[in-house]
Subunit: 203 residues, 2 copies
């Protein structure tokens, strides 16, 4: 059995925090896992800014509700699901995902969750576990499932490395330069071609 | 994070082998995992009958292409996917699943595969692993995911037992009688109510 594991933001949908940064005109919120390898540091930085500006969960959800999948992402994810199994492995919080998953036809997603205060303030976050994407790939492999993985960020590197086949997808220059040994694809057609090869290889 | 694991045949779609038995008027093929706890014994019995009657993969696929989800199953599975994550854990073969998954909106499914000869004869089958459903639940739990499981057959019992919450669904009398300690639900509304309780309990 085969399974494709994809990162969400930057691969199928735009970066949520960048969209929120633009909507609120707070440029500091444009930092993502593509810029900051330390996720906890990044999240504490984000939550600080939210608190200072008195933004609540509902403010972020409102911005997300207007977001759309990247052009071609719905067609690509459908094509993957017609060929094999797809599970999205994302650092996103489940409180953010609903409108985006609805627009992608409800693919399965494994992600993290937020801690929300009684007034709707985001008080913290819960990572499901350390190295969550790598651990997920290993868990699937323990079920005798061959895994194809693709992502664009620092937190995708272990997933890509652990998978039976793995690619960077539209990764920024700093990551491509630092990990030249991982091939980087830039189009859904290119990614689908590699997925087809993976499925046919019986890898 | 939460995940619902459902059996496929008998829970979301009719039993494929029973549909094929009816279409071909071969009553022996009506035996399923609800009647025979030993899956390998059951499959060797089925493959023997296929060989004797010169049925090929395409003959079964043709019958499946005309099958539909059970009444209410599409709406139920959509309701589950709007609330949480769903992965179908099934003993079915991936060569059988496409028309059924299309009609269910392409949920994620972990299943087995067939060995097909050059002329389209089914020469054998590959179980992904022993105790596949239980192992899958354990793998999800190792990712700090809480699992709700439901199924109707002997090969669902370990999955139901291992999950954080588990139910029989429309199980036949012989199984209900043998496992009175496992509650049995008979409607999608009833199952959804239990799933809602599970999600709210923070189990």
């Amino acid at each position: 059995m085969h399974l494709v594991c994809l990162d969400l933001e930057g691969v199928l949908v735009p970066e949520v925090w960048i969209a929120f940064a633009k909507a609120t005109k707070i440029p500091e919120l444009q930092r993502t896992t593509k810029d900051e390898p330390d996720y906890d540091k990044l999240m504490r930085f984000r939550l600080d800014i939210l608190a200072k500006n008195n933004f609540k969960l509902a403010d972020i959800q409102q911005v997300i509700s207007k977001m759309n999948p990247l052009p071609g992402a719905l067609e690509f994810s459908r094509a993957v699901r017609e060929r094999t199994q797809l599970i999205i492995l994302s650092g996103i919080f489940e409180e953010f995902t609903e409108p985006l998953m609805a627009k992608l036809g409800w693919p399965t997603i494994f992600c993290n969750s937020l801690e929300i205060g009684p007034d709707g303030t985001i008080t913290g976050y819960q990572l499901r576990q350390k190295n969550d994407k790598k651990r997920a790939v290993q868990a699937f492999q323990s079920l005798n499932i061959k895994v194809f993985a693709a992502g664009d960020s620092f937190n995708d590197l272990e997933m890509i490395d652990t998978a039976d086949a793995g690619y960077l997808f539209r990764a920024p220059a700093n990551i491509r330069k630092r990990y030249p040994e991982i091939p980087c694809l830039n189009t859904y057609d290119g990614l689908l071609t590699e997925i087809d090869s993976f499925l046919e290889s019986g890898a």
